[in-house]
């Protein structure tokens, strides 16, 4: 359980993170979404005990990240944004070094190396020098480093940046699998990433938290009404209009006559009118050519929340 209370972090006069609060429960995969410069990395650096907050408090399993720093660090695995490694070491040496400082027992070391090599797809690469590896393999070494000690919490800063599409899919699957047992916090500025991997999303913009919820909640919460697109054969616009007037929950209706009649229906937020609408049309003996519900995508929510300038949150 991670608790962030009123976290503020300043770099000199620049406020990088402003009064952010959230909690993450055990076993959750939390996506930290925001444009570049939003304050994602800064927040993660505080969570991982790299630097203290200017104000506010962060506790992990009840322990303050700065009072009980060593104990907190033991429970966390961290993949920094730049994934810095030591190019002159080979993969095995590097992971052994990290495991040593992580306090992995000598007797368990071999098993742990085999396990992370298998999970991260590094089996063939253990004897290779890190500097010779491709970006994708280096990213896996970074992930292996973060999980060598079986931490309860993984903090991954842009884990898929710089990878090609196939590698991205692999790493996402890996994160999903890890998330079955562990708490994972990952940051990204790429939207499909959170949709593909996360249970919950925090959207952060200019250092402020602007949304917190499941991808589904956010899409329903932030764009109100639903749109239904309809195409019907065997009627006229006026007939369709009066027929649909009997369906409760319709807010707005536009019809266009043509060879077939098309209609654009705006329905109340959170309602699903596909069934009553289709029943109404079928009862009249008309034919539905198309019935399509358009939902606000997370992408629209994201754009809406992160493009609002100071005016919105002032």
């Amino acid at each position: 359980m991670i608790q962030v209370e009123n976290l503020t972090k300043q770099y000199g006069p620049l406020v990088a993170v402003r009064d952010v609060s959230f909690t993450v429960s055990t076993g959750e995969i939390l996506g930290f979404l925001g444009p570049n410069g939003a304050g994602k990395t800064t927040t993660m650096k505080v969570l991982t005990c790299f630097m203290p907050p200017t104000a506010g408090r962060v506790t992990i399993d009840g322990m303050d990240v700065f009072e009980k720093s060593l104990e907190v660090r033991r429970r966390i695995g961290y993949l920094p944004e730049a994934n810095p490694l030591y190019p002159e070491m080979n993969v095995q040496e590097y992971l052994t070094f990290i495991a040593g400082i992580r306090g992995v027992a000598k007797a368990k070391l071999g098993d742990r190396l085999d396990a992370v090599a298998a999970v991260c797809g590094l089996k063939e690469m253990m004897r290779r020098e890190i500097g010779e590896l491709s970006k994708g393999f280096r990213q896996r070494v970074g992930l292996a480093q973060a999980m060598i000690h079986e931490p309860d919490i993984l903090i991954l800063d842009e884990p898929t940046s710089g990878l090609d599409p196939n590698q991205i899919v692999e790493i996402r699957n890996l994160i999903r699998r890890l998330g079955e047992e562990k708490t994972v916090i990952l940051s990204t500025h790429i939207l499909p990433e959170v949709q593909a991997t996360c249970d919950r999303v925090l959207i952060i913009n200019r250092g402020r938290l602007v949304a917190d919820g499941t991808p589904h909640e956010l899409t329903t919460q932030f764009h109100g009404d639903e749109q239904i697109q309809l195409e019907v054969r065997g009627t006229t616009g006026d007939l369709l209009k009066s027929a649909l007037a009997t369906v409760p929950g319709i807010v707005w209706l536009e019809v266009a006559d043509g060879k077939d009649v098309t209609a654009r229906i705006t329905a109340e937020r959170g309602s699903d009118l596909r069934e009553p609408i289709s029943r109404c049309i079928v009862d009249q003996g008309w034919t539905i050519l198309e019935l399509h519900r358009e939902r606000t995508s997370l992408e629209q929510v994201f754009r809406q929340l992160t493009s609002t300038e100071e005016g919105a949150d002032a």
Partner: protein, 236 residues
């Protein structure tokens, strides 16, 4: 302390995995070897004295070349972020890195025992004097390695770290040469500050605890300052 030892091993492995260690050791041996053989034929004496007066000057370049990357490179590449978020204390990182650099300096110094060996075969070598000279070199090397560790903690640029440590080393080695131009009352202070004064004391074979304490405090002070620089990220 176990972590400091693990870090020291990692650092030594990095030295020997990359060409750094081999290049600096080779250059060190070539320069000392050149001066050793030329002075041997010049004075025709079985003594290590020329070497002992020469190595401090070679150290001026040699030690900063070894220490410049210690923390500067970690900061440049960002790997310091991984290091300090591991469950290890900041001082363990500093001590581990310092020990690795000092270790490499000691390796270089010990390689010159080859000259001692060849001298002892051709003439009568004063064992006590030689031992004292080596002790002086090892302590001087330790002080320089600590200065280099601190310099490297101040910047993310290895060249800058090299220049800072060389400047400090040169200043501390030469402060007592300022004696003639400064008031006499300052003489004891400057002498006490000077690394060369204590080095010469030890090399002469008089091993005084004051000289040992001087080196220990200098090393301690430098590592304290390096720790301070590393911990500065925690200032609010």
């Amino acid at each position: 302390m176990r972590n400091a030892w693990l870090l020291c091993q990692k650092e030594l492995r990095s030295y020997f995995n990359s060409p750094v260690a081999y290049i600096v050791l080779t250059v060190f041996l070539l320069t000392t070897g050149f001066f050793f053989t030329s002075s041997l034929f010049l004075y025709d004496q079985a003594t290590m004295r020329t070497l002992f007066s020469l190595v401090p000057v070679i150290f001026l370049f040699f030690v900063p070349a070894i220490t410049m990357r210690l923390l500067a490179e970690e900061k440049r590449s960002g790997s310091i972020e991984v290091l300090v978020t591991l469950p290890t204390r900041d001082w363990e990182i500093i001590v581990g890195k310092f020990l690795a650099a000092w270790g490499l300096v000691i390796v270089a110094v010990l390689l010159t025992l080859f000259y001692v060996l060849s001298l002892s075969m051709i003439g009568d070598l004063d064992g006590g004097e030689t031992f004292a000279g080596y002790l002086g070199l090892v302590l001087l090397g330790g002080a320089y390695a600590a200065i280099g560790t601190w310099s490297s903690s101040l910047t993310r640029n290895q060249i800058v770290a090299f220049i800072i440590s060389m400047a400090i080393i040169a200043a501390l080695y030469m402060v007592d040469d300022l004696l003639p131009i400064l008031p006499m009352s300052l003489a004891p202070v400057l002498q006490f500050l000077s690394t060369s004064y204590h080095y010469e004391n030890i090399s002469r074979g008089v091993i005084d605890t004051r000289d040992l304490i001087y080196y220990a405090s200098l090393i301690f002070l430098m590592l304290y300052l390096a720790h301070h620089a590393l911990a500065s990220r925690k200032w609010k």
